[in-house]
């Protein structure tokens, strides 16, 4: 069993759950405490020891069901294959096997008396020999089932069965009894063959799942955002969530390393009382780094909507890294959407920002107008602690770019970072006015894929605020 739990843990790790060795050991000893009889208990045990973040529970559930699908199901299947229990037959068998010191093949022994889990272990052994790790497609199930089958010496088993039958006959069983026993033995053989096939099928499902996850992460991370299908957009949400988490983890680590700082005067003085007011021992306080303020300004016209969606999701998932996040969306008219986030869960807030905010989503993009409006209404609410994260392709439909507005905004804030979801080669060509806006920005980055978006935001959270300190 231990081996299976460890393998399961391997699957969890591949799905990006972080599980330390000590937690893996906990899982082993805890499941030894509760045993396997009750699936729900077993599952709760693994969850309690391995999953320490509630957001990982969903992944855990999915993988658990895939992995331990068979524990009971297999047992049940075996029973069904064997037909109604016939304890008498098994008794008679056990007797011969015990009495006549027959020299039987190991596998025959197993088939005659083994439990589901032992048989499964034998199959796993066979699977290794058969190179099951090369299994990839549904069409290969039959092939690999046969290959695993071939690992076993079936002729030896058949010889053994004949031996057993002869021994039983010699004991004077009547033909009716003998026929029942022979039937029983064949059913057991058949059940074993079925277990092999089930094992291969389950292995395929696991692989498909694993590969699917991997694929989502790797392929989607590098796919241009505008080219995502609705399905992919949905899958991408979890990719972005994981990205947010990685950034957060890394930041937390750095903060922990930076903890030492100012003197904690209260504690130091209190301690000094013991020494007549002389501060013999000095206590340090954690440096309170002021968290950055952030304003996101997103172009939500059709061409870049996906990019905006993921940037909003990413930023909003990183709330606690900022002391304040305000968000605006625009096509031509510009509107604040921060309140949506305060009122709804992230998903809905984003849907609302992309569809329900008071801007005309179907008009033609006009960056210049949006910036001038923003400068008119929001300038006083800006300050030097605020960074503006801008997302847009700067395709201005030949409208007046009004770059002065962006420069004005820049003077009031700590900096402007511009993410452009269009490839860099297109900047300045046609109606793109990126080169006109770039001088007002501190950083301008291409951001065509989720991978690039992640990099920029990661950089932002980690280093941008340290500059100029």
């Amino acid at each position: 069993m231990e081996e299976r739990i460890l393998e399961f843990i391997g699957d969890l790790r591949r799905a990006e759950l972080r599980i330390s060795t000590s937690e893996a050991l906990d899982a082993l000893s805890a499941s030894a405490e509760v045993g396997l009889t009750d699936r729900e208990t077993f599952k709760s045990t693994l969850a309690a020891t391995l999953v320490k973040e509630s957001r990982d529970l969903e992944t855990f559930d999915r993988i658990f069901n895939l992995y331990f699908l068979d524990l009971e199901a297999l047992g049940e299947g075996l029973k069904k294959a064997l037909g109604p229990e016939d304890p008498k037959v098994q008794d008679q068998l056990d007797q011969v096997l015990d009495q006549e010191n027959m020299d039987l093949d190991e596998l025959t022994e197993l088939l005659m008396r083994g439990q589901g889990s032992e048989m499964e272990m034998a199959i796993r052994g066979g699977a290794q020999g058969a190179g099951l790790e090369r299994l990839m497609y549904f069409l290969q199930v039959g092939y690999f089932s046969r290959r695993i089958s071939d690992q076993f010496d079936w002729s030896a088993i058949e010889r053994d069965i004949e031996k057993i039958m002869q021994a039983l006959e010699a004991k004077g069983l009547d033909p009716g009894q003998l026929a029942r026993i022979r039937n029983y033995l064949e059913l057991r053989l058949e059940a074993f063959r079925r277990m092999i096939r089930q094992h291969v099928q389950r292995e395929l499902e696991r692989r498909a799942y694993r590969a699917g996850e991997q694929l989502t992460r790797e392929v989607l991370s590098d796919k241009p955002l505008f080219a995502l299908t609705p399905d992919e957009v949905a899958q991408m949400k979890s990719v972005v969530a994981k990205l947010a988490r990685r950034i957060k983890d890394a930041l937390a680590l750095r903060q922990r390393q930076e903890q030492k700082g100012r003197i904690d005067s209260r504690k130091t003085i209190r301690k000094s009382l013991q020494y007549g007011g002389i501060p013999m021992e000095v206590y340090l306080k954690r440096r309170h780094r002021e968290k950055p303020r952030l304003i996101t300004v997103c172009d939500v016209s059709d061409s870049v909507r996906n990019a905006s969606r993921f940037m909003l999701q990413l930023v909003w998932s990183l709330q606690e890294c900022f002391s304040r996040v305000r968000s605006y969306v625009f096509v031509s008219e510009i509107a604040e959407v921060t309140q949506g986030f305060n009122n709804f869960p992230v998903e809905r807030a984003i849907e609302w920002a992309l569809k329900g905010a008071p801007v005309d989503y179907h008009c033609r993009s006009d960056f210049g107008y949006a910036f001038s409006r923003f400068a008119n209404t929001e300038l006083d609410s800006l300050d030097k602690k605020t960074t503006i994260l801008m997302l847009g392709d700067a395709r201005n439909n030949y409208n007046d770019p009004q770059a002065w507005a962006l420069r004005l905004i820049r003077e009031r804030v700590k900096g402007i970072i511009w993410l452009n979801p269009e490839g860099q080669w297109g900047w300045g060509i046609g109606d793109s006015v990126m080169p006109l806006y770039a001088p007002a920005c501190d950083i301008v980055r291409e951001c065509r894929t989720i991978g690039q978006l992640g990099e920029v935001v990661d950089n932002l959270v980690h280093s941008w605020w340290r500059r100029g300190r």
Binding site: R18, S20, S22, E23, D26, S29, A30, E33, V34, D38, E40, T41, S44, T45, A47, A48, T49, V51, K52, E53, S54, L57, K248, A252, R256, Q259, K267, R270, L273, Q274, R286, E320, N343, F344, P345, R348
Partner: protein, 304 residues
């Protein structure tokens, strides 16, 4: 302490707490393995109550450490009673004077005073706070560290040390080691991420809103006078309302409150006017109330 997961479930029930299979399993493991349990989940799903019930069914005393921002070792572990120490030195001034009166030199006087350290740094002058109380307790206890996410990360690190070996060293008095390892329950409302170290050390239990069957049991248990039909209606409605994506969905304690007030109003079943007029027992934000009101049809659909 417990022989089986089922036993946990039964004994908790007898103590008026409905523990799901998951909850019972984790409690069982915590008792078996002597591990702290970290409970996360929305407000009012019975996190604190679980610790109380655990102390109940094991007949162990409950020691509670309520966390808050700025909580430090002094407030959690122990503090010297400075005022009392000062008072005593004042009162004993003459005796101290006598002690050093014939000291030939300053160093000699100092070391004579130092010789009396023990008198002033003893348990007499120490106020033990919850953690030290739990460690020094003569009988086994349940230690509840409530809302750990409210304390600062440094405190968490300190707590982790205490939870790892259940011993603390008080420089003036030496090391104190727990006679019995306490059963430790930590709760968190997820105000911030907890450290990996702490999470690794603990068994993790996420308590979500109960499923309808469990919630019905809880209501029956806590509001025994409720008519059966109304209890069903309340549970169905509450579960629906939780599905509305509210800013703060109703918790178990709120559905209990609601059920209670419906009983006081002598209600036998739910109708829109009744629900509207009692809704504030259940949802607190203006926006949420509006939302529920707008969806009353849906909410009441299956409560008849």
């Amino acid at each position: 302490m417990f022989e089986s997961v089922e036993e946990v479930q039964h004994r908790f029930r007898a103590a008026r707490y409905i523990a799901s299979r998951r909850i019972s399993t984790v409690v069982f493991l915590a008792a078996r393995m002597g591990r702290p349990v970290l409970i996360e989940g929305p407000a009012g799903v019975g996190k604190t109550e679980l610790a109380k019930t655990l102390s109940d069914v094991t007949s162990r005393g409950l020691i509670r450490l309520q966390c808050y921002e700025g909580l430090d070792e002094g407030k959690a572990l122990y503090e010297w009673k400075y005022a009392k120490q000062l008072l005593y030195t004042q009162l004993l001034r003459e005796r101290i004077g006598e002690l050093i009166a014939d000291a030939p030199s300053l160093p000699e006087a100092v070391s004579r005073i130092a010789g009396q350290d023990d008198a002033f740094f003893s348990y007499r002058f120490l106020s033990p706070r919850p953690l030290l109380q739990a460690i020094r307790a003569d009988d086994p206890v349940v230690l509840l560290v409530d809302e750990i996410d409210k304390a600062e990360p440094e405190f968490e690190a300190f707590l982790l040390e205490v939870l790892s070996d259940f011993q603390v060293s008080i420089p003036e008095l030496g090391t104190v080691k727990a006679k019995h390892v306490p059963l430790v329950v930590l709760t968190s409302n997820n105000a911030r991420e907890l450290s990996d170290g702490l999470k690794r050390r603990c068994l993790h239990l996420f308590i979500d809103f109960p499923n309808p069957t469990d919630e019905l049991e809880i209501i029956r248990l806590k509001v025994p006078e409720i008519p059966e039909k109304l209890a069903h209606a309340v549970v169905a409605a509450v579960q629906k309302i939780r599905g509305l994506e509210l800013r703060k969905p109703p918790s178990v304690s709120e559905s209990i409150d609601w059920a209670r007030s419906l009983v006081i109003l002598n209600a036998r079943e739910l109708d829109p006017t009744l629900v509207e007029s009692t809704l504030t027992m259940l949802v607190k934000y203006e926006k949420d109330i509006e939302r529920v009101k707008g969806a009353l049809d849906k909410v009441l659909a299956e409560t008849k």
